[in-house]
Assembly symmetry: C2
């Protein structure tokens, strides 16, 4: 029998207060948490079951389906959600009227079943959880820094992984292997409907311009129509750029970093666009601070791209992505969203990936992406591999 909660009581208290503050703002009196990402946020571990946070109570109540050995004094064993009301009654706990469920994540069938089990109409907890998780605690930021350091170590080794004649796919496999040897957990957590991607994107040449089904910054045709995104087997040839944007989940918290590599002599406009991407990142980093509107960062990026004469290539060419950055943490797409119609306001503790990228036909994708922490005094970069275009053939 081990502890269910793997974070310190103090750390958990901070997180619960964030969740309660967000619940209050949304008029939710109790939160029935069920998703892997949110259970991990609350407890420091993924398990199968639920956690109930009552606005008026100090400690959460944990309901565990599996693993069955997690039946510490602090947890209640249940086989089905229908077991929840009986267990609460036995303990003299009364459910309030408005119980939030993760309606943006639970399937319709499971949400209906849960709501019926607890005898309440479904209220949506998704926005409150996203809000709570958007400002990371110092402990979470340390986890992200650690992911950043490991991801950096992988990216620095990319030129050593390259061998003449390789395809984008073959290079990606070596990057995956090195990532895993450095401790990458592999799991790539995306929230939302059906966004599938395996271990990230390595895009060589014009494959970067193949539009994908998802609102990712870049596309790629993929190796098979069942997974139409990313590397497509393009042989890496002189004059091509190779954009590497792979999984940074080393600690349960992800960093998001992109670097661009090149083979042989690269078109002047592509080199220029790469520098503009670096300049945009630096400019946005200067602007970013608590209280700044997320959309102002987007507008600045778009304006700089336009001033550089690169509007047509900004965030894609045949298909454009609708953002230039996004929150990141347990999942790759958290708040705030750095997009034209975003209403988000930057706040201390936000972890934000900025990825002003360009697709230059005939060369490929260029640009960088870094993950930044919003601090009281500005934005700190936690993905510090060299930013310049890096030659694969030294």
């Amino acid at each position: 029998m081990e502890n269910l909660v793997l974070i310190s009581a103090k750390e958990q208290q901070i997180r619960i207060e964030k969740i309660k503050a967000a619940m209050l703002q949304q008029g939710i009196e109790a939160a029935l948490i069920s998703s892997n990402a949110s259970l991990y946020y609350l407890t420091g571990r993924v398990y199968s079951g639920f956690a109930l946070i009552l606005a008026g109570a100090d400690a959460p109540i944990y309901f565990v389906k599996r693993p069955v050995h997690l039946l510490a004094d602090t947890a209640i064993s249940i086989r089905k959600p229908e077991g929840i009301p009986g267990e609460l009654q036995v303990r003299g706990v009364e459910l309030p009227q408005t119980v939030g469920l993760e309606l943006g994540r639970l399937s319709y069938n499971m949400a209906e079943r849960l709501a019926k089990a607890i005898g309440r109409a479904p209220a949506d907890l998704s926005a409150a959880m996203a809000m709570a998780r958007s400002c990371k605690t110092p402990f979470e930021i340390e986890k992200m820094r650690m992911s950043g350091l490991k991801q950096e170590r992988v990216y620095r080794q990319v030129p050593r992984m390259y061998e003449p004649g390789m395809s984008d796919y073959e290079l990606q496999i070596e990057i995956e292997r090195t990532s895993r040897l450095e401790g990458c957990l592999g799991q790539f957590r995306v929230q939302g409907e059906d966004m599938e991607l395996f271990m990230g994107n390595v895009l060589a040449g014009d494959n970067a311009d193949a539009p994908s089904p998802y609102d990712f910054a870049m596309g790629g045709a993929g190796m098979d129509p069942s997974l139409p995104v990313g590397a497509n087997g393009t042989p890496i040839r002189p004059g091509m750029s190779v954009m590497v944007d792979v999984n940074g989940n080393y600690t349960g918290y992800m960093t998001d970093m992109t670097r661009t590599f090149s083979l042989g002599s690269i078109d002047e406009r592509a080199r220029y666009a790469h520098q503009v991407s670096i300049d945009i990142c630096h400019a946005l980093q200067q602007m970013g601070a608590p209280g700044v509107e997320a959309k102002a960062l987007y507008e600045k990026a778009e304006q700089m791209a336009a001033e550089a004469g690169l509007a047509d290539y900004f965030m894609g060419h045949r298909q454009h992505a609708g953002f230039v950055g996004h929150g990141v943490g347990i999942e790759i797409n958290e708040l705030p969203v750095i997009a034209p119609r975003s209403r988000d306001i930057l706040a201390e503790g936000n972890a934000i990936a900025l990825e002003p990228k360009f697709v230059i036909p005939g060369t490929g994708a260029v640009g960088i992406e870094n993950t930044y922490i919003v601090t009281e005094s500005g934005m700190t970069c936690i993905t510090n591999a060299p930013e310049d275009l890096i030659a694969l053939d030294k």
Copy 2:
């Protein structure tokens, strides 16, 4: 502009007829398909959007959000689900009263939004789609055979990947790399709530007995509490078994295969249990045919395990899995389910993974798993790597 549909008209017709037959059985007059797995089934590709099948019409109507280049004559471009009714009206298409949505997959919020957009109460399409997909077409079976051949090739190379001193995790990384070089797509499609697993399981020694959050045949503690399943860094030592059950998605269709490897001299009871697993597979293969009850296969497996004196170790030891096999195809958990309370009846075209496994404390997991196709005359194995316990140290 390319074709949206990547399978032949004839192949698609067979699949549509299966879907319509299942819709009829469930009283559904129109199906609004939205998940990656189901869109792939219908069209041979994953895209972002919807497909509408009307019981009374021949051809589906395709609504595409992304990729934007997929705007062939056969597809309708939409930005949001709210655009669907207007597009139908323009084309003179009237929606019937009962429109099935994938309520077992769609989030509650998205299902509500879709239902509101089309002005219908949500009806559940999940069971009909699962039913349609459970009997594979000859073309789908060919895709599965191809996955099986490639997966076999990887498993045969495992002893060559092993190096003395390796941990389970390090061996898994080499298996992952070899799998990817053979064309493994990586994506591991699981249907249902939040079942996370990266590229499969390599379990050495007693880590096989660590209970996981999921109803998988085997557990493993994993490398991190954010992903508590699979390899945990156990150094592979003499006397240990190493069970390899990794991703077989090479074609969009997965095969599921497990083989057990050993280092040094293995406990007699573990060797015996491994042979019992092989015997169970062969016995179930003999029994399996169209019309046979799925639960009869489970009962036979359980009975053989008990007769061998191995009931305590069957399908886990500290935590037991509640099945001995499952359908497999585009996803790892399809119909039929080979479990004690299953009401499924085997039918021609079913693809079924059988995995009677044992966990022997002090040694680890032993046993095999194969994927079989149910044919008119019985079950054909499509994962034919050698079944015996294989020595890593030749």
